[in-house]
Symmetry: C2
Subunit: 412 residues, 2 copies
């Protein structure tokens, strides 16, 4: 029985992922932390804002003094001081019947509990102001700690930092943050038939596409690609190159060997790497097979198909989840999804998981888009270029009828 018959489903892969652990962590400044994954629970070291601030240009007051005032019967308050933006009002006194001129961002006096907008006032002589619209306590100001209380939980380990998260950390004075390291991924294309993309292939040869696409996929997933070029189908050279590449990397992607013979060859190379163990010899996923997984300690070694489109789908299904695990997130696909309606019947082979390339056509009235398969053989890039996403069909499902609900994974 050859391996094509014993290919396991992709769940075999994910079950092997539990033996891998997240990478080491490092400290990065906020300016480089967007998209990075927090490595430890973060709590707020202080209150944000650190003091009560005015949100408006106007007058700091005691709200009770404005009760019931109106255009015709304004509240008349004595102006006893002024607080500029960035100036501290905490030492200024404010008694009943008094107001202090304050600018947006200014620190309120302790006794003030609201700010009257300047638009709702009129000057009434040298040191007095007429307020003609009442305010409630806390109006037009933020309390100390209203944005974030001291000790509040900010982010748990595994949280991916977005722009607003960086803003909150900056406001709290957390200028560097401990995050999981970016996985270094060595990428080696194998095959006697390959020449670099900038060369004109002689008869029988083609250009190496996977070095470009796999590097871009690694980068998109948050990893650091280490392109290692092309290796011919030579056992000793491939073994030496792989062993050397793994020294510098957390993961190795070997593409090529889509065929029976070449696949055995790839597996033999992966098995011969010092300290390596084959975990999964192949999976029945279409496209994307044959994908081989081996490990050397916590380093993952993937054998991906040679066809660029198949390698791309294989990467999204198997490699990307492990990169996410390395970075402290769950080993999920992590791709954005959209709900869609199948625009025509979609066939699939029972016994293998399929990722059908689909185009999405918007429909009116807020209805989900129509998903229609893109024609073309699975190894080709053109159909993937015309596709918006992949529609996964389970191993035990023979296909989908027209008009059915479906979830489409958007291609990154």
């Amino acid at each position: 029985m050859n391996d094509f018959c014993s290919q396991g489903p992709p769940t075999e892969f994910s079950s092997q992922f539990i033996d891998f652990v997240p990478l080491a962590t490092e400290s990065v400044p906020l300016a480089q932390a967007r998209g990075r994954v927090v490595a430890e629970l973060l709590a707020s070291p202080e209150a944000l804002p650190p003091f009560a601030r005015s949100l408006m240009d106007g007058y700091a007051v005691q709200a009770a003094d404005t009760l019931g005032c109106s255009e015709s019967t304004p509240a008349l308050l004595n102006v006893v001081g002024e607080i500029a933006a960035g100036a501290s009002g905490r030492t200024l006194g404010l008694g009943p019947g008094q107001a202090i001129r304050i600018w947006t961002g200014g620190e309120l006096p302790k006794e003030a509990d609201a700010v009257v907008m300047v638009e709702h006032t009129r000057l009434a002589g040298q040191d007095a102001v007429a307020v003609f619209r009442p305010v409630a306590p806390a109006d037009n100001m933020v309390q100390a700690g209203e944005d974030c209380a001291p000790g509040a939980l900010l982010f748990e380990a595994g949280h991916r930092l977005r722009v607003q998260d960086l803003g909150l950390l900056a406001g709290l004075g957390i200028a560097t943050v401990q995050v999981f390291c970016r996985p270094r991924v060595a990428i080696l294309s194998t095959g006697d038939e390959l020449v670099p993309p900038d060369q004109t292939p002689p008869p029988g040869k083609i250009r190496n596409v996977n070095s470009i696409t796999l590097a871009a996929l690694v980068e998109e997933a948050g990893g650091l690609p280490l392109p290692c070029g092309i290796c011919p189908d030579d056992f000793d050279r491939m073994l030496a190159l792989c062993t050397e590449a793994l020294d510098q990397a957390d993961m190795l992607l070997l593409s090529g060997g889509s065929s029976l013979g070449r696949r055995d060859f790839t597996r033999q190379v992966l098995a011969a790497i010092p300290g390596s163990t084959i975990l999964v010899p192949g999976v029945s996923v279409h496209p994307g097979k044959p994908a081989i997984l081996a490990r050397q300690g916590n380093k993952a070694l993937f054998g991906l198909p040679g066809h660029a489109a198949s390698a791309l789908v294989g990467f999204l299904c198997f490699v990307r989840p492990l990169l996410r695990l390395y970075m402290g997130q769950g080993p999920s696909l992590g791709l954005p999804t959209v709900r869609a309606i199948t625009g025509q019947p979609i066939f699939s082979m029972v016994g293998r998981e399929e990722y059908v390339r689909v185009r999405l056509t918007p429909q009116g009235d807020g209805a989900p888009p129509l998903a229609t398969p893109v024609a073309g053989k699975t190894g080709l890039l053109g159909p993937l270029v015309r596709a918006h996403g992949l529609l996964p069909i389970g191993r035990d499902v023979g296909g989908l009828d027209e008009g059915m609900d479906a979830t489409v994974l958007l291609l990154p």
Copy 2:
């Protein structure tokens, strides 16, 4: 009448955008082209693949020779040669009744029109093979140009390059691509109340958050942030800093001046910059106001609010669309959206466009998620950290009832 009363809707901004044009273009290698926007129509210079290739390990044949064969009555073919992966079969002859051993990726002989998988064959002596499953023409092979025909339209100007696009270009030998330049965006935070994020603010002062958040937003949108630090509320210094920053940049973001007085000040500075014209003195969008737009030639000058959360929303609504225009895309928001159902009534003020921070809660059975507003004043970061997206409510709408369809912009 002060400017708060004369604020236009954000459409005023977009209508001003038509006076701006895309930036210059540059040539980048494929390895750096992911996410970049194509600057000119690209057509295929050649066929991909350049020749008919085998997709399987097996035998190149004339399909007619396998017609009607089966396990019990196999077709017997003479094996007249072998083609390895990367080897050219174009000079090999293949007559009726003949087969040539071929490996995945090998170039088919001219006379072959199909490949039989090795799994569907048995060796029958030294130079013969028994085929026990018929193939149709084009089975298990790709034709020359089947992935991409010579002269085929690849991408139009304005197309943002994805991973599979890079793969197609690499396969066709297009090793560099002409793309629109990344906009250089100078970022200046203004205000006497600001200290850098790594300092402990003295009484009345707060940390500068916008330098971090706006730089991250620029980067996310595909631009190059040029952080220029903090400028106190000093007309001459601000004018000098802005003028200098614009020398190196395609766009200037000035944050601060959320108040009446400060806003006038910002506008005066922007108006005083040599060659500058104020296009829009403010907009009635909540949060995000006051956002000012000026221009100096094709350079855009934005005055954004000082509150980090408001500046962030203002950036997404006004700045990001113009960055997209600079990069050859339409001046649209360009944010991913999800359909959601309002989880409770959402109030909004008629006469201003609102972007309500919402949290999304998944529902079962493939139903859209529930969108519920996140409580908290609009200038605060905490609520934005707890939010998944923004729910836009139009200027003429007083709010949304519970259970209504809504489109939510996902925060990047």
